[in-house]
């Protein structure tokens, strides 16, 4: 590691003596080749450029996970990619990646167990293809022995049901995909 001239420089990440014109050139180079991240070192000066990712959160996560070092337990082999999934069937990642862009997604407002119908054996509240109106009950999430009805906040057609009857869901987990009616 290079010697720091003052203790204060430790607090800042700015490399000194960087030529702005050179940075402009590098940015143009990144643009030309469609690069999202670029690192460059010469004469003891290191430049790292990173553009906001187009894949947003999921990409950031994947990147962050590989960048873990010097943390407790880092010697532990990362045997499984996403920790959640496994036994409880709870997903650590929001499934937003699988949602067609034009769908309105109803997400679970609480942690609990998803039930498609009001009681065992009864018909489900909704099925794929059903027309629903805003305020209509779509399912029940059971949390701490309480049955919470989850209502639709839009009117439209149920295109996708993400959760299965009896499945545990976490906060923010997608439950329904709805194609909105009369969307201006």
């Amino acid at each position: 590691m290079r010697k720091k001239s003052s203790p204060q420089s430790e607090q800042e990440g700015h490399p000194r003596g960087v030529d702005l014109a050179e940075v402009e050139q590098l940015l143009a180079f990144m643009e030309k080749h469609g690069l999202e991240e670029f690192e460059y070192e010469r004469d003891g000066i290191r430049v790292r450029l990173k553009k906001p990712s187009t894949h947003s959160q999921n990409a950031t996560r994947a990147f962050a996970l590989h960048d873990v070092h010097a943390a407790p337990g880092s010697s532990h082999t990362p045997a499984h990619g996403v920790p959640a999934a496994s036994q409880a069937g709870v997903h650590g990642l929001s499934a937003s990646a699988h949602v067609p862009e034009d769908l309105h997604v109803i997400k679970s407002p609480i942690v609990g167990t998803f039930y498609a119908s009001a009681s065992p054996g009864a018909d489900p509240f909704v099925t794929v293809g059903a027309q629903v109106t805003s305020g209509q009950a779509l399912c029940i999430i059971e949390a701490m022995k309480l049955m919470n009805e989850i209502e639709s906040d839009v009117s439209g057609e149920i295109v996708k049901i993400f959760a299965e009857n009896g499945q545990p869901v976490e906060y923010g987990e997608p439950l329904f995909g709805i194609r909105e009616r009369d969307k201006k």
């Binding site: 943390a71 942690v111 987990e173």
Partner: protein, 449 residues
């Protein structure tokens, strides 16, 4: 032993609990807010469940969400860490009602320790010394004179409803008593709408000394020596060490035995900390008890060789203290520096993305952290980035190792308290062990200007 534990916390303490669980062969469930999607406790736990939006009140403090997560993951115990729900008696009760073991003391004991006044009375009755004071509100001048005779000078008059220095008067001599008493009442009335004041012995140049204890569910309690936590700013601890430079083996044994006896009386059954103020004369006064694991627990682990978190889990599972810890021995000296994402001079929090992160190592160095390069310190929670713990044969070796470790710790992207710790460790009074709880304001903050 438990099969599966839910860790109702985040940051370094969540990882610390995870470590202990792994050693014990217990599977782990992490819970997290949307702000912590990329956090390491989520990454390293066997399962992870999102329990709410970033705000603590909607996620880490949301009891129904945490219990629901525990139910869908089918855990048999919950470790609350420190902060958040760790000293919430109601949460401990809900756990009990849901047939989930709360890894901590009983709800009754948590509730007792949460009511500071009642805790002081109970502990005094159990044999611990408390700061001499008036029996409640001092109604008039005659009562003030009577109480002052009993307490002695100097004393302090405080507003019953108050705080923050208003309605407070220090009285050094008898002739100032009546005038100060009247001024304090007037100030209290104006500031808090009530003229009620009480009186207490003034502890000058106080040091914060605390005893680590561990109890089991069979009535046994042990102490694991003391920690010196006088290096604070705004009542927040910054640097802790064990043993205290001013507590010798005789005092340790005498006070430790008293603490153990008092806690056995109330049936304390987990890890906890009994806090004292020490006055110049060397006398210790009980102020409060923290009924949970503490941030600074590693210094005690380093000098005793006892894994406190693992022990806490084992006693919660019903194991006996004698099997869990055995006889306690003290070896060497340990210091902990809390590295916060804060401006080292103004103490203003400095959340943001960590761009570079390099932790120190070497003989006697331990680093507890949940940070990594490219991690984001969210603005919603506390600003702790890492704890560095240095252990040495004696205090001077521990200080030397800590100075080396601070020099080799690189954090870029956010401001940290590393420069402040370097100044503390370079201070001759600190090296000589001569300091009290006003050390930072007096010595360090001034010299920084």
């Amino acid at each position: 032993m438990f099969r599966k534990i839910l860790i109702a916390n985040r940051g370094e303490i969540a990882l610390r609990v995870l470590c202990a669980c792994r050693e014990l062969g217990v599977s782990t469930v992490a819970v997290y807010s949307e702000a912590d999607r990329n956090a390491l406790h989520v990454r390293f736990a066997d399962e992870a469940i999102c329990i709410g939006p970033p705000r603590s009140s909607d996620s880490y403090l949301n009891i129904p969400q945490v219990i629901s997560a525990a139910e869908i993951a089918n855990v048999d115990a919950i470790h609350p860490g420190y902060g958040f729900l760790s000293e919430n008696a109601n949460f401990a009760e809900v756990c009990e009602a849901s047939h989930i073991t709360f890894i901590g003391p009983s709800p009754e004991v948590i509730r007792l320790m949460g009511e500071k006044d009642r805790a002081r009375q109970e502990m005094a009755a159990a044999g611990l010394p408390i700061i001499p004071g008036s029996p409640g509100v001092v109604p008039d001048e005659d009562a003030a004179r009577k109480s002052a005779e009993e307490i002695g000078y100097p004393l302090i008059i405080k507003a019953s409803e108050g705080g923050g220095g208003r309605g407070m008067r220090i009285v050094r001599e008898k002739r100032d008593l009546v005038a100060s008493f009247q001024t304090a009442r007037t100030e209290a009335e104006q500031a808090f709408g009530s003229p009620n004041v009480y009186m207490e012995k003034l502890i000058e140049r106080p040091r914060h000394i605390e005893f680590q204890v561990l109890g089991d569910r069979h009535g046994s309690v042990v102490h694991l020596g003391e920690r010196e936590c006088s290096i604070q700013r705004r009542h927040q601890k910054l640097l802790e060490e064990s043993p205290s430079p001013v507590v010798d083996a005789k005092v340790r044994k005498k006070m430790g035995d008293q603490v153990v006896e008092a806690l056995a009386k109330i049936g304390y059954s987990s890890a906890g900390t009994v806090e004292f103020l020490r006055e110049d004369s060397g006398k210790l006064y009980f102020i409060e008890m923290n009924a949970r694991i503490q941030v600074e627990h590693p210094v005690t682990e380093m000098v005793t060789g006892v894994d406190l978190v693992k022990s806490q889990i084992r006693v919660a599972a019903g194991e006996k203290l004698a099997d869990v810890v055995g006889p306690i021995e003290f070896r060497g000296h340990a210091i902990e520096c809390r590295i916060n994402a804060e401006d080292p001079d103004t103490f203003v929090p400095s959340p943001g993305r960590i761009t570079a992160f390099r932790v120190p190592g070497g003989p006697g160095i331990r680093v507890d952290t949940a940070c990594y390069a490219d991690a984001v310190i969210p603005p919603y929670y506390d600003s702790l980035i890492a704890k560095i713990i240095a252990h040495g044969r004696d205090r001077s070796e521990a200080i030397a190792r800590m100075r080396g470790a601070l020099g080799g710790f690189v954090v870029e992207g956010v401001k940290t308290t590393i420069p402040l710790h370097k100044r503390i460790l370079a201070d001759p009074d600190f090296a000589a062990g001569k300091f009290d709880t006003h050390f930072i304001e007096r010595s360090i903050a001034v010299s920084a200007k």
